[in-house]
Symmetry: C2
Subunit: 259 residues, 2 copies
DNA sequence: CGAGCGTTTGAAATCGGTCAACAGCAGTGG
DNA sequence: CCACTGCTGTTGACCGATTTCAAACGCTCG
């Protein structure tokens, strides 16, 4: 089950010119947000290599000393905690443009395992260099703070889900959250393929995989979604939002009184 | 139920000399960790006022624009999320020396409500000034990053608890967590008074208050703790650690082979 | 094509939730 | 000082959502 870390790309020739934030399509979601072109050029130098991961490979593991934070370029990862008795909790699923490894900063060693759900690639950002550059570029510092804070907020919403919602509501919220994050990156957001198993979804949501499966079937039966294995099509967004206990933000505008 | 924010101390005379980190006993847990005395002197200038809160007062509320982050001087707070339908999830309980308001950075407005559980006082740290000073003092920047990351880690452990542990284990973990945090601050850690109701503990742990009450009674009956209303005395730490599914760190040394 | 997962579905069991009654204690006001 | 009121906490009995156990199905990949 546990694979070892793989640094496929470590051997030579890594400081390639093409590892540049300035030309990366994810720039608008990643570290360089709000920087001038000149400053983005300086951020380029932070990304001295990229790591290519196969499904199941670890990006980092609990206890590894912190050396870098990572920005996902393509693919998807999960982060997880394990208990001594073997139980396991998935903390997050991570999409392109998101930063990984922030859990390692507090104690100078990573607190989680970060594992690829599919073929993925991450930019390696030496953390000390990042702090150094953030010290020189205030906008970079601010952006980094925003990213950490949003990560906090994401986990806090997740806490709300695990602490206060029923299985059905959690799963609806999960689908919506995925859809929103995909849309923000310009991906198709009403139809996508889940890269993780029912068991992993269950772990993330604090329920058993059989329950996930049952809820999916129920959603499909009531016409909220269509399912073909891991491929999901969201049919009735309003219904999903309602189930998740949130108002559909798309309708807020229409309800609001115009000024 | 909902009280309005109270800025008792806002009226004049607030820039007192005694608002100094340099002389604050919490310095070793707070922002100034790792700074030279000279730099701590510069941090003093960040704390331009303190807020005094009575039980039930809000330090900040969901949606308020971010202006400051806070460091708790004495007392205790809870942070919480609310759902449109009235359900509520307590995200954290906060002790002296801990920072509040980090949830507000990502979107420039606070995402949670922060409410005093008792008479409390918080240092008000203008966030833009903090970023400015962190820009000048690398150690301050690093310490701030560590604080944010630890906050993240704390929430992630909480996720593990809500997602993977049974009620009994969650409550044992809660008591241990409290004990550890009190000990870190030099407080008595095997005997303390909980500032929050059974209902608030339940909300934090994702269980109902009746369950909290039952589990407490069970713990007391099996000799793990002693209870008098909200006053708790931890009797059998090993038993609690075992219940919480963690090894007692105090015994790790004795088990480890000496080098 | 067959082995091994991952998934679905059903039936039984259980943990925690819900409902309800009551006890304890704090604050109020006579 | 002692009802009275209201809130918090405890405990019991019953209920129900989710888990557990089990069986069968169907991808996927070697």
């Amino acid at each position: 089950m546990v694979r070892h870390r793989v640094y496929r790309n470590r051997i030579g020739g890594m400081k390639e010119l093409k590892n540049k934030c300035s030309t990366c399509v994810l720039g608008q979601f990643c570290l360089p947000v709000g920087l001038s072109p000149a400053d983005i050029g300086r951020v380029d130098s932070l990304v001295d290599k990229r790591l290519h991961l196969k499904k199941g490979d670890s990006l980092y593991r609990h206890g590894d000393p912190l050396s870098a934070v990572y920005s996902l370029r393509f693919g998807s990862l999960k982060t997880e905690h394990t208990l001594p008795d073997g139980r396991l909790q998935i903390i997050g699923f991570h999409l392109p443009g998101e930063m990984l490894g922030l859990d390692g900063i507090g104690e100078s060693q990573y607190q989680l395992n970060a594992i690829a759900l599919e073929e993925s690639e991450a930019c390696v950002i030496d953390f000390h260099e990042l702090e150094g550059l953030a010290h020189q570029i205030p906008n970079l510092q601010q952006q980094f703070h925003r990213i950490m804070s949003r990560e906090l907020t994401q986990d806090q919403r997740h806490l709300l889900s695990l602490g206060s919602l029923r299985a059905e509501e959690r799963l609806a919220g999960f689908l919506i959250n995925f859809s929103v994050r995909l849309a923000a990156r310009g991906y198709l957001n009403n139809e996508f393929t889940l890269r993780m198993s029912r068991e992993e979804i269950g772990s993330y949501l604090g329920i058993k995989f059989e329950t996930v499966s049952r809820m999916f079937s129920r959603f499909a039966e009531s016409g909220l979604i269509q399912l073909q294995q891991r491929h999901v099509k969201l049919i009735d967004m309003d219904g999903l939002y309602e189930l998740a206990g949130q108002p559909n933000p798309l309708h807020l505008n229409t309800i609001k009184t115009p000024c």
